[in-house]
């Protein structure tokens, strides 16, 4: 049995290395994706192009606009006359946000009744959220600084207001600077490993059937399980290499700290690869050609990324959708990946996800080996 598996492994390696271009793509793709994601994806958006309609043009309004610009979130690209012009600029896509300051802002600030209007383009979720959060905090900080100024000018008058109405202290755990990459890279590892392991396996098996070589393999004494194991071995190796390159780049290039136990992570990632291999085999048994397989994989990837918690938190999903998310191995591995890399926790805090992942692997391998037919019909 081992000899036959070894024969298949040798054959797969010969074929893998003969197709240099595909191999290069398989090895380079995750790196390219990591760089694109690392530099392009930014969950918090800054330098939002902004229009300003300052209708009072006094010291207070200047101070406010300057505070907005100084935050780094807003870049004033045009000054317009009215509320209407701001809307027009947003409509035409020239700016993403607009600040409208009513006439007599100075006096309003004195009275403590000042209101500036911030208009944000809601088309882009991340922009509008960033703009909203930034504007809120800038306004609060600005208000506090005005209050402090007042207090120093007229200590008696301000005495009654010496305590601020709100004093929230927020401590963000694990990712104190809210660095996007700390959030993205553990999830991306999970996603890329899943995509690669599914695709490589499904493609390898379906191609064999498409070009007809499966017929000649089936008349040899190779058992289906042996063929399966032999075929997935090079894919496991490629997936592990990719895992290490992504992790290495993440840690040494993007400076994402690796808090937890590296060997625990590697071992769990290795197991996780098997879930993708099982899924790939399952997909290969229901697809007649590579096109069908790729369609299925594409769907699986996109839905998995959305439901698996890569970008959108799973606790916010409706129960039925959350259950559907359990179909994807990504769902189990993302908490493991984030737990070990970002939080630095050990298996004692992750055993639920680990148990779920292992159950998933066993179930998927069972179905895959059942479905992996030894005949041609």
């Amino acid at each position: 049995m081992l000899l036959r598996i070894w024969a298949v492994i040798q054959k797969e390696f010969i074929q893998t290395f003969r197709d240099r271009r595909t191999l290069a793509i398989q090895l380079a793709m995750p790196m390219i994706q990591l760089f694109l994601f690392g530099y392009a994806i930014s969950m918090s958006v800054d330098h939002i192009p902004t229009a300003v309609a300052d209708q009072s043009l006094d010291a207070a309004s200047h101070g406010y606009v300057n505070a907005m610009v100084a935050s780094g979130y807003f870049d004033v690209v045009m000054y317009v006359a009215s509320h209407h012009d701001v809307l027009d600029a947003i409509d035409k896509g020239r700016v993403q946000a607009g600040i409208v300051i009513p006439p007599g802002f100075d006096a309003l600030v004195e009275r403590g009744d000042a209101q500036a209007l911030l208009l944000v383009n809601g088309e882009d979720l991340f922009t509008s959220q960033s703009a909203y959060n930034a504007a809120t905090s800038v306004a609060k900080a600005h208000a506090i600084s005005i209050l402090m100024e007042k207090a120093t000018c007229a200590p008696l008058a301000a005495a009654s207001q010496s305590t601020l109405p709100l004093d929230a202290r927020i401590r963000i755990l694990y990712n104190p600077n809210q660095d996007d990459l700390w959030f993205i890279i553990p999830g991306m590892l999970a996603m890329l490993l899943q995509v690669q392991s599914i695709t490589l396996t499904a493609a390898a098996v379906v191609r064999e059937r498409e070009v007809g070589t499966i017929e000649q393999l089936l008349v040899t004494p190779i058992r289906p399980a042996e063929l399966m194991l032999g075929k997935v071995t090079p894919n496991i190796l490629i997936s592990i290499i990719n895992l290490l390159t992504i992790l290495g780049l993440g840690v040494y290039w993007f400076n994402v700290p690796f808090q937890g136990d590296f060997w625990l992570f590697l071992w769990l990632a290795f197991m996780y690869v098997f879930s993708g291999l099982g899924l790939g085999l399952l997909i290969s048994t229901v697809s007649q050609n590579q096109r069908q397989a790729l369609q299925l994989i594409g769907m699986f990837t996109i839905v998995g990324v959305v439901l698996g918690g890569f970008i959108f938190p799973r606790y916010a999903m409706p129960p039925l959708i959350r259950i559907a998310g359990n179909l994807f191995p990504l769902t189990y591995f993302i908490p493991i990946s984030r737990g070990i890399i970002t939080k630095g926790v050990g298996i004692e805090s992750l055993w639920e996800q680990v148990a779920a992942l292992f159950t998933y692997i066993i179930v998927i391998m069972f179905f895959a080996s059942r479905a992996f037919k030894q005949g041609l019909d």
């Binding site: 000649q216 040899t220 019909d377």
Partner: protein, 317 residues
């Protein structure tokens, strides 16, 4: 007696489910192939030859009946069958990106041929197949004939007792075809290998010890080539008429004419008796102003027998 039967099928049926219902690609065939003989399963395209071969090998589930090779049931003992049978698929089904040597080594390895035997056998097989000069060439770059020879060599590396070849000379030029059949002849003579071959070519059928004629999933005739030819009643007259279409219509209606086949510009006419019918045909044709050249009796070949038998089967269905 049963000792000598290598491949055996009884009432073998294979149905495929299609949108229009079930289609029986193999519809109850009884075959017996004896040890050491070359058996040809012949028939037109779509007769069910490939399906029958695949079911016997255990590559497809049979719907009904029985089939076995060397006493191993096709469905229950597939791995026993794989250990003692070599198979060459109809399409070239070896990994094309692997070289000749890598291919043959792979098949030796999966059959667990020991290192020592491998070292002896592989060079011999490559030399036998005339591939010893091409060991490092990727299989997909071989010519059609060489691909078939490589597939044959790979199917022999574990020294099977039976080889099953599905249209092994499809898309191969006549010279290579002849070479390929010479190889099969050597194998039969030197190793007493039992050879089962599917082919639509009649000249190849003539090279078999026994043939089975398959048509629409049924075995409509079997026996030695001579026996099969003898199944077609009557004698055969050949001639070249000056007006082909009219001559054919005229001859078909004549008394004592059993069957008319076309053969290029010639007509092949089966008659119940040669001497008188030949004269009658000649008279009838010349009465219509049609002259004929080269009229005479010939031995019916496999091709005439094949067409005759298929026609009869079609008419009776």
């Amino acid at each position: 007696m049963t000792e000598r039967i290598v491949i055996c099928t009884q009432e073998l049926v294979k149905q495929f489910n299609t949108r229009g219902g079930t289609v029986a690609a193999v519809d109850g065939i009884d075959l017996q192939v004896r040890r050491g003989e070359t058996f040809g399963l012949i028939g037109p395209d779509g007769a069910g030859k490939t399906t029958a071969t695949r079911v016997i090998l255990g590559l497809l589930r049979r719907t009904d009946g029985r089939s076995s090779i060397l006493g191993h049931d096709s469905m229950d003992d597939t791995y026993a069958i794989r250990a003692c049978v070599g198979y060459v698929a109809q399409q070239f089904a070896l990994p094309g990106d692997m070289t000749v040597m890598e291919n043959i080594r792979f098949f030796a390895n999966v059959h667990r041929v020991g290192r020592k035997e491998r070292r002896q056998r592989i060079p011999k097989l490559l030399e036998f197949a005339g591939l010893d000069g091409f060991t490092s060439r990727p299989a997909r770059l071989l010519s059609g004939g060489m691909k078939k020879k490589l597939a044959l060599a790979c199917s022999l590396v574990h020294q099977p007792q039976v080889v099953m070849l599905d249209e092994p000379t499809l898309g191969v030029d006549p010279v290579s075809r002849r070479e390929f059949w010479n190889l099969l002849g050597i194998l039969r003579a030197e190793r007493e290998l039992t050879i089962f071959v599917c082919t639509p070519y009649m000249d190849e059928a003539e090279r078999c010890n026994r043939v089975g004629l398959m048509y629409r999933g049924k075995l409509i005739a079997h026996g030695t080539p001579a026996e099969v030819k003898g199944l077609v009643p009557g004698r055969l007259i050949e001639f070249t008429p000056s007006d082909f279409d009219r001559a054919m219509a005229l001859v078909t209606g004549l008394e004592g004419v059993l069957e008319v086949q076309t053969y290029g510009l010639m007509l092949h006419v089966f008659v119940d008796e040669t001497a008188t019918r030949q004269q009658e045909i000649q008279c009838a044709l010349s009465a219509q102003g049609i002259t004929c050249k080269g009229m005479g009796e010939i031995e019916p070949g496999m091709e005439e027998a094949f067409i005759g038998l298929v026609r009869r089967a079609r008419d009776s269905q």
